[in-house]
Symmetry: C2
Subunit: 357 residues, 2 copies
DNA sequence: GATTCGACTCGAATCGTTTCGATAGGATGC
DNA sequence: GCATCCTATCGAAACGATTCGAGTCGAATC
């Protein structure tokens, strides 16, 4: 957008050169309205001569009231966020759908130490919709601002807010399904590794007061509830400090497994695949074999080419989820009022689970 | 941007309600020009009452000629692109700098099967600059279009074009350094696994005709040249089919290692850390121990928490690279004409290299 | 008490499109 | 031959802000 040498040609320049009015020239580029073949040719020729690359997107957007961009909100540093292949898969599917509109994806990270800073940032951005992609549970400071601007919001679970259209799975039911699978294999001493339940992710014990039915739609909470539906209200659950990450899984795995054998769980149900991978790594570090000495289940169904196992997991089909969100966004731009969607998740058996010895 | 119920209030509504002119109201929000304390208060109050969330970014951008967004071009599907932690680190650093402007990052993927489709997409987007983030070597179809629009372009190596400001390392020198390290350990049978040298990534042998001094600034080519500076022009090099990925490394690793011992290299120099990780995985699959039976080096210096080794690698400091690009972009927006930058890369010894047996 | 100076406010022009309603002119129907 | 209907084109009014030069008014200066 920076002038190089001289000002960029505008539609007016093109029109003048082609000997037509500005409105006719506009018609040529937008393709709406009838234009004589010869006129169109003349305008295009003039454009080519002047180096006019098409109508100024800013002006066009202003006039049409469409920004041509969808915001994608990511909590914390981008680097952390993109470690989670599930989130990336969702983004991928989203991009796939948005490419066809055409609409760009505007990425917005927010420093963990200054969560509010995203609001002024947002205020300066023209967006047709916002997708919360990798945000932790709890209220999100941007929701009020966006609601006030009338910008439609979408998410795959969090923040959990009436004003945000959700595309989620049955969290509680899904984890219940995989938990039952583990129980039916014969496991009785089973622990869960959760993603952080609250906004402030502290590794270690979870804050039990957050585990309420009212919070059941928050993925991390719903997954604790479903797990305990099967293994009882006292079944041990610890959380990672940094969301869904291999390191978090390793740390949690060590904490659960580096104990006398009698206390050691025979199976660990992780809330995500990468966490599960971390648990597997921690187990092997400690000389335990998976699945002989320890069964591990994941959640998400992502590809982990570096893991020499195929995780038993709930397949959430991240890319398809992203596509669904993308389609909702597109329809919303066309004026359809979107409704929440419940996506499917299916159990996928892998090589990380077996009967206990 | 969709009206909810009724039209959103504009600056004019606010001004009217506060009993001031539009220009004064504008001054209040932009903070430029002197405004009496009382007036400012009145305007802000009116804004609050009307639910005015700030000047329309589109209109503001149009007037000021700044889009408030930087495009980030990614080749192929996002999911593939984000598998490379180095690229993500660069993006992370970039975001860090851009957050302060304020400028958003507009992500643009491009389907591999229709590379040209990015141009019309770009044409509809208002951008202050474009960063090529994860693109393969070769000409990029967007360069001409962006140059015509006068939009400044930046990259960390590719596409290699005079019109693109580059922030790169001394590719050839860096890989030479790590190759010497391997040679000095005593290795003589050494192979390299390269990222694709040409636009069409075919796994397997490289196209030797691309390995020319003229292409030395293309990372994948420069890294072949530097490697051969040390191990000779005949030193074997094969490339992955999909850029920098663990799978690519595994496949290449198998191809190089699943041969009679006498032909097997004692060390493999990979062009990226994730490729190196794949090679390590392939080696261990075949029962080889790293580093005892095989030394492996990476390139990039990224964190691979799931790999039970610390790679010997060239640390490129991706995040800092991204920050440098971000600073260049910012200065460019301020009017400074940027110049190419050569960033440092340093050898980091890990646990994946040793003397040959 | 006239002059000068700031601080504050305002009107109008502008950014580059799109779109609506009007108009001209040729083809068609009767 | 006149009313009717297209088709192609145009002028002007938005879209919602920013910015520049000009104007007002009270206080300070001499």
């Amino acid at each position: 957008m920076v002038a190089r040498g001289q000002a960029r040609p505008t539609l007016r320049d093109v029109a003048e050169r082609a000997g037509v009015s500005v409105s006719t020239a506009s018609l040529v580029f937008s393709g709406k309205g009838p234009v004589a073949e010869a006129t169109g040719e003349r305008v295009r020729a003039a454009a080519a001569e002047l180096g006019f690359t098409g109508p100024n997107p800013l002006a066009s957007s202003l006039r049409q009231g469409r920004a041509g961009a969808v915001g994608v909100l990511v909590e914390g540093r981008l680097r952390m966020a993109f470690r989670d292949p599930f989130a990336v898969a969702v983004l991928d599917g989203l991009a796939e759908e948005l490419e066809r509109v055409p609409t760009g994806m505007l990425l917005l990270g927010q420093p963990t130490d200054d969560v509010e800073s995203v609001v002024p940032q947002l205020a300066g951005l023209a967006l047709d919709a916002v997708v919360f992609s990798l945000c932790g549970p709890g209220d999100h400071p941007a929701v009020d601002h966006l609601a006030a601007r009338g910008i439609p919001m979408f998410s795959t679970g969090v923040p959990s807010d009436r004003r945000v259209t959700q595309v989620r799975i049955d969290e509680r039911g899904s984890i219940r399904e995989i938990s039952r699978y583990v129980r039916d294999l014969g496991h009785r001493r089973v622990a869960q590794v959760a993603m952080p339940l609250g906004p402030m992710g502290e590794p270690g014990p979870i804050r039990e007061e957050l585990v309420t039915d009212a919070n059941a739609q928050i993925p991390s909470v719903g997954r604790v509830l479903g797990f305990r539906d099967v293994f009882g209200a006292d079944a041990p659950v610890i959380q990672t400090g940094d969301g869904s990450s291999v390191e978090g899984g390793i740390i949690a795995g060590r904490a659960l497994l580096d104990v006398p054998e009698r206390q050691r769980p025979t199976a660990i149900v992780a809330q995500s695949d990468v966490i599960a991978a971390g648990v597997v790594i921690a187990a092997e570090e400690l000389g335990l074999r998976v699945p002989d000495d320890l069964s591990v289940t994941g959640f998400d169904g992502v590809d982990l080419p570096w893991l020499p196992h195929r995780l038993t997991t709930m397949d959430q089909q991240g890319r398809e989820r992203g596509r669904i969100v993308g389609r909702l966004v597109r329809r919303r731009l066309d004026g359809t009022r979107p409704r929440n969607v419940v996506a499917p998740a299916t159990l996928r058996e892998g090589t990380t689970t077996a009967r206990p010895r």
